[in-house]
Symmetry: C2
Subunit: 428 residues, 2 copies
Amino acid sequence: MSSDVISVDTRSVDISNLRINGDRLWQSLMDLAKIGATAKGGVCRLTLTDLDRQGRDLVIGWGKAEGLSVEVDQIGNVFMRRAGKNNALLPIVAGSHIDTQPTGGKFDGNFGVLAALEVIRTLNEQGIETDAPVEMVFWTNEEGSRFVPVMMGSGVFAGIFPLEVAYAATDTEGKTVKDELLKIGYAGEAIPGDHQIGAYFEAHIEQGPILEDKETEIGVVQAVLGIRWYDCIVTGMESHAGPTPMAMRQDALQVATRIMQEVVNIAGQFAPHGRGTVGMVQVHPNSRNVVPGSVKFSIDFRNMTDGEVDEMDAALKAFLLKIEQETGLGVELKLVSQYPAAPFHPSCKDAVRNAAQKLGYSSMDIVSGAGHDAVYMSMLAPTGMIFIPCKDGISHNEIEYSSPEQVTAGANVLLHAMLEKAGVISGK
Amino acid sequence: MSSDVISVDTRSVDISNLRINGDRLWQSLMDLAKIGATAKGGVCRLTLTDLDRQGRDLVIGWGKAEGLSVEVDQIGNVFMRRAGKNNALLPIVAGSHIDTQPTGGKFDGNFGVLAALEVIRTLNEQGIETDAPVEMVFWTNEEGSRFVPVMMGSGVFAGIFPLEVAYAATDTEGKTVKDELLKIGYAGEAIPGDHQIGAYFEAHIEQGPILEDKETEIGVVQAVLGIRWYDCIVTGMESHAGPTPMAMRQDALQVATRIMQEVVNIAGQFAPHGRGTVGMVQVHPNSRNVVPGSVKFSIDFRNMTDGEVDEMDAALKAFLLKIEQETGLGVELKLVSQYPAAPFHPSCKDAVRNAAQKLGYSSMDIVSGAGHDAVYMSMLAPTGMIFIPCKDGISHNEIEYSSPEQVTAGANVLLHAMLEKAGVISGK
């Protein structure tokens, strides 16, 4: 053996039998879920409320008990660090968020944060020394249900929007992010984005039905889909349903329903990852015996690459032009907002896939239709996500559920993916 | 000459030059419209309010000035009678209603009542004696916007629903028809329906675009369309618009929009009088990024005969069965209410058509898509309706408008149609 690897205990560097403690992880999930627990078994812990403070305090207490150093930045993102052998290396970071929807569940976000904590607990318990430092993080206001924009903490961190914009955001009572951060004591001093990251992993419940349907334990997330949101307004002429013959109508709803069907047709043309949804419809005047004069409805397009979303956009616009010419009714399309597609890094996808294979879990490639903090992290560092199944694909709901076995599998994959990136120096 | 026609002045029985006074009619329309006048030029004179009382008092005052006898029945319908030569004959009656929608116009209903008054004023002025008595009437609560059911006064009169049911109807403040009738002093003593009718005419604005489009002065109304109202509820499964692939969705809106288009297709199959309208849509949960879990929407079918409406009903039900089998989503259809088709009496249609021809007005056969008091009268006596154009087909709106020439034409046709049925004995 050469002198520079003298400290390596080669026996214990075999980590193939290393596993997280599923019972401990489950207990932490249940303990954190008590803060803001709802009668129906869910959690209401809105960002920057006193309940959020209690949740943050609990998780930080757990981190401190593991000897982690704590850093809070100006937007309230919390990093907790376990030193590696070579602290000049950038840290391997894992996390998510602990704020919830008003009628949220126990797993969305919280699972990713506590899985990262469980990885660190396991490393400590087993005396594993990593080459690079290992960190856990929770980001402020991922949900966006109290303050917009969503994914606020990671967005400020990645420089997507300025700190001042986030600070000025108000809730329905007019309270600002800045005041509420100060009030709960989580306006830190670190400049968001200064904290450098070597790689980022986020474990998360799928929030969709695919893994459960395919009876697969681990989803190797390839990308978060690009999203484009529109409002479409069709303008015809309101008239009485009785006296107006069919041929003399300018029925806005009849034209709108053709467009609503085309939204789904276009998604089908851009399979397998194209999504097209009309979720919101407002009919005017919305009276039983009046031919609708105008209809406003939302369109949500998603796909794996921005180029594919552009093609869906072009197909929609061509159809709208055609239907406007055919019917003579006014058809207006407004872009409401858009989120770029976030493809994940090959090395991180490989690390997740390898970990699942090594551990004997069934796995499959999957995409994320919903946004996550990992979208913004992927702009800063190699990033990957691990999905686990959730019951009936249900999320943002008090009945959201993943089993102890499912969360254990996800945390084990996170452990081994992080270790592949961090490098194991020694163990017990 | 035989002695029994000794009183006939044959010179004056030539009524071919007899015309109503259009200026006087227009002035009465404008005077009545001052009661409840709105800033935008419409009228808000809801049934059984103090404004309704003022309108009733004004019209009855005009009738008394013409020497008419007044009868008010228990539901507040008001008949005013001009005796004929032979008062054993049943009266030839014309009228409509003077209550309005909350944002109603000056013409809907009011025109029919004041055209009947103008007929009587003309007969008086010209000293015309009719064989049968001639009456004008206004019916209580035709609009149904304060109390349901609509066409309440004529409905009680025709025995469609009992007086007690109408009395017990409440407005949004919980006030009853009976109390409000008593309060404005129009709970009369006559038993509704006891008042016998020889024939009934109702002049009305078309409330549709056809006469204006065809540049025709008089519509000879053939029938009021039968109406069937439904609610249709499609039940799928609510899911997140991002993570749910197209093939795994149970999108209630996509199924609902196919039905909405079929409603219009079916109406087209039952041309020329078939009407199919979806006016009201509720999407649940109506959120931009959630695939709709359920959609409730109204269906309004109309046609000239009840048999044709039955066929439209059968076509709809067959389609719903097919789409339910195809998609696996739940499709429920509830009948909300129905109104039978009311074909008008050949002798009354002829009287209207003859009058228009004799007077040199352009005329066409037309149907009424909307309900009128004449529907219920047609169950009791030979009945006919006269339509005049209204600007852009707009009604139930403060900008509702027919020109002085148009209302004059309609009242002249009413005059001659009534005289054909009543018989002219003598004139000046």
